[in-house]
């Protein structure tokens, strides 16, 4: 429907404009008639379905079940956990009328569902035998954002939110970490996005959490994207909502809860990590079309080449998601640009000479290289090629992340690097230092990487005082 053209702003010239050009010209989204809302078009929605399928399988394998909780949350319920309401109430959309009547109590559209789910869990859980409760929900949420950006920050977005209750703190912490590991494997394995795993500093924690685990990815403009979070909520929500159980020893105890989620924002990450000046580059595992076949022929040769193209498609079809672009109204050159814009990992070109010789010209989107295969090779060579593209995109992204990770001891070093990249630095643990850094440079503490220790002999990056943490700093989306 949307006619892509190759005219997009180069990444280096204006990254933000490049991003907006790609999301539109690769036919991923459109702006809705309400500010801050977007339509997720089929091409991008398919990527979300691949992400869903992979996560859903892993959640199920680890004992989780899906359920569905209400969209609307009474104001009183939302306000029950003090830190939580403070964090979320500025972003809430309120329903005040239903049908022809004004509501006695306004209803919030869920910005996240800890409160409504907590209220239900309190009803459902009586005994230690009811634990653990391991439930996930696929849902839409609304947060009234002032500045929005397609996929990265939209007023409504799609996500999954897992909510679990455990008998002990240890079990809840193990769950929190297990889900983070599932996210990391999915990001790296499916989306080819390398990440740094860590915990949030207190100032960056989820509202109401005791500990927030996070995966931070590095976009190709050198800014960070928080890609997934997994929260250990301690007993905060259990106390606020009276989630109590009678333990085996006969005493009444509060449960230990967790929550964890990823959203359609991952599609934004996919674009910004892998895209280039020709458009999207999709890892094959998440590509709606893995191979596009473009016949190249005119006049009297057209039919014969098209017939040959169908033969090539038939060979590839059982192994990959293949699309034949037989649109008569476009030139091959236009089609090449079009499918490169959409990030299709592999292109097969078949012309009259290929038909005669029984060959296929194979072009890789990731490296731009071309080779020629006998068409009989397709069946065994294609899976390896797709795997190779998947690996290469991950390798490039990992190389970029490592090349843009810097150990720093002063703010000036970060300034000299244009504040672009992951900056590893010592931190004293004082939020005042973090606040000052943010105000002066726009840089935030993305995470305290797991197992990282402060560099010996160095003080806090900001105040020079004794360092208790090693932190990864960056400007973030």
């Amino acid at each position: 429907m949307e006619k892509p053209s190759k005219a997009i702003t180069p990444k280096t010239e204006d990254f933000s404009q490049w991003y907006q050009d790609v999301v539109r010209k690769a036919d991923l989204m459109d702006y809705a008639p309400i500010k801050g809302f977007m339509v997720i078009k089929p091409y991008a929605y398919r990527m979300w379905e691949f992400i869903q399928a992979e996560l859903d399988r892993r959640f199920r394998e680890t004992g989780h079940q899906n359920a569905y909780f209400p969209l609307l949350i009474p104001a009183g319920l939302l306000q029950q956990e003090a830190a939580h309401v403070e964090g979320f109430s500025p972003e809430v959309a309120w329903v005040t009328r239903g049908g022809s009547e004004d509501l006695a109590e306004p209803l919030a559209i869920r910005p996240t569902s800890e409160t409504i789910i907590g209220a239900m869990y309190a009803k459902w859980i009586q005994s230690y035998r009811d634990l653990p409760v391991l439930i996930n929900q696929w849902a839409n949420v609304v947060r009234w954002e002032k500045a929005t950006r397609p996929f990265l920050r939209t007023t409504e977005f799609l996500w999954q939110e897992g909510h679990t209750v455990h008998r002990t703190a240890e079990e809840a912490l193990a769950e929190t970490r297990q889900q983070l590991a599932i996210y990391q494997e999915t990001l790296e394995g499916l989306l080819a996005i390398p990440v740094v795993a860590g915990v949030k500093s207190a100032g960056e924690r989820f509202a109401g959490a005791v500990e927030t685990y996070t995966l931070e990815a590095l976009m190709s403009d050198g800014r960070a994207l928080q890609a997934a979070t997994s929260h250990f909520l301690g007993q905060n929500f259990a106390r606020a909502f009276s989630i109590q159980f009678l333990d085996e020893d006969g005493t009444l105890k509060y449960g230990w809860t967790t929550s964890w989620g990823v959203s359609t924002r991952l599609i934004g990450g996919l674009i910004m990590v892998h895209g280039d000046d020709r458009g999207l580059r999709l890892p094959p595992k998440v590509a709606p079309i893995q191979v596009v076949v473009v016949p190249i022929a005119r006049g009297h040769e057209r039919d014969a080449v098209l017939e040959y193209a169908h033969k090539v498609v038939a060979a590839a079809q059982p192994l990959a998601r293949v699309h034949l672009d037989d649109r008569p109204e476009w030139t091959p050159g236009y089609k090449f640009n079009d499918w490169e814009m959409r990030g299709v990992p592999v292109r097969f070109e078949v012309g009259p000479r290929d038909r005669e010789q029984g060959t296929v010209v194979v072009a890789r989107r990731d490296t731009g290289t071309k080779t020629t295969w006998a068409w009989t090779e397709v069946a065994h060579a294609l899976p390896a090629l797709l795997e190779s593209v998947q690996q290469e995109l991950y390798r490039q992204a990992r190389e970029f992340l490592e090349a843009h990770s810097y150990a720093v001891t002063t703010v000036a070093e970060m300034a000299a690097l244009g504040y672009r990249g992951f900056f590893w630095a010592n931190w004293c643990g004082d939020e005042a230092c973090a606040d000052r850094l943010k105000q002066e440079t726009g840089i935030t503490i993305r995470c305290l990487p797991l197992d990282a220790r402060p560099e010996p002999g160095l003080g806090c990056l900001m105040c020079g005082g004794p360092a208790s943490h090693r932190a990864v700093l960056a400007r973030a989306y």
Copy 2:
């Protein structure tokens, strides 16, 4: 979590109370802290996932793609199609505040998405080459209902809504009918729910439709359930939203649109068609657990029987969704009742004698019959047994529907039958007769069955005037 007990109200005593007992005791749902909203618990949500998977596969096979459109619709947009706004505005929930600001224009939570999708399609479609547009959305919708009932009528529900645009009326009509056929095959094949397919009379049509196709199922209390609808919208929405395309002949034309949907209400239908006084009865294809294995042993025999039960589970596992109920705290009798309540199609009982003889007692939920198998038989006999249960539930439901379908010529005949069943009658086509029937008896025209003709020589059931239609009448949910 919810402890089921066998104490439910008998169907014949109070059907409505029976239904409420079953949805709670089979652990399908819970009431949310807001009136009219419910939580779909994992056991029922899994059924919804099976319905989704089947429909999604069929939609994709027929060329449809999924996308996602915004939850909120500006008031002005909702009001653009006159008949549509009249039908839906009494049921709309309104967002009037976002964050800390009052909104200039209230936003409706979508009761259905024709309007917002129509506005987007108008932007996307320019040429006949852009057609057909075949998009489906899985989403939540909100309708501010006065009287609600779990699954059947809730303020928020989950559904899919397909929205398509075509070049000609014929193509749009063919799409409308194709989608109805997909629904019918899914209802009958997956859910074992027989239906009558037809079109709605003008008074019962979707607001804004030219023709509404419907599937009507008969619940076991003799009331009808509208289970699926597929709407031919003509050019009504295309005109209201300016969905126009330049045709091959160089003239600008309005598109022809359709919409079609089914919702979580189907789970209500599943309960009411197949359930009995012991609880749910689930067709195997939609059963989260198809076989439950219950070990029966005490004391010193316990470990040996449990080991044997694991062997039986291992044999069945590759062929079915199997669950081993090894909870030590409950008796076998309690477990039998529990799993019967939850409608598990097949129960395997294994006791000390079974272990010695290498047998399994096999109990069917649909017929209540018990047989004994050698455990080595499980691998080949189980698939056929599950298929047999699936067929038997369909056969019983079809038999019930036929036994409760009556050709009638007077209202008195329906009264004598307690207004329970599908009543086939002649109708003159005048809405005044339909209105009078509804007011006097609560009976509505469920549909005008496809290919049905008025019974010759008989007048309209209500006015005795010339009959133009054969109609199926019933009291409906």
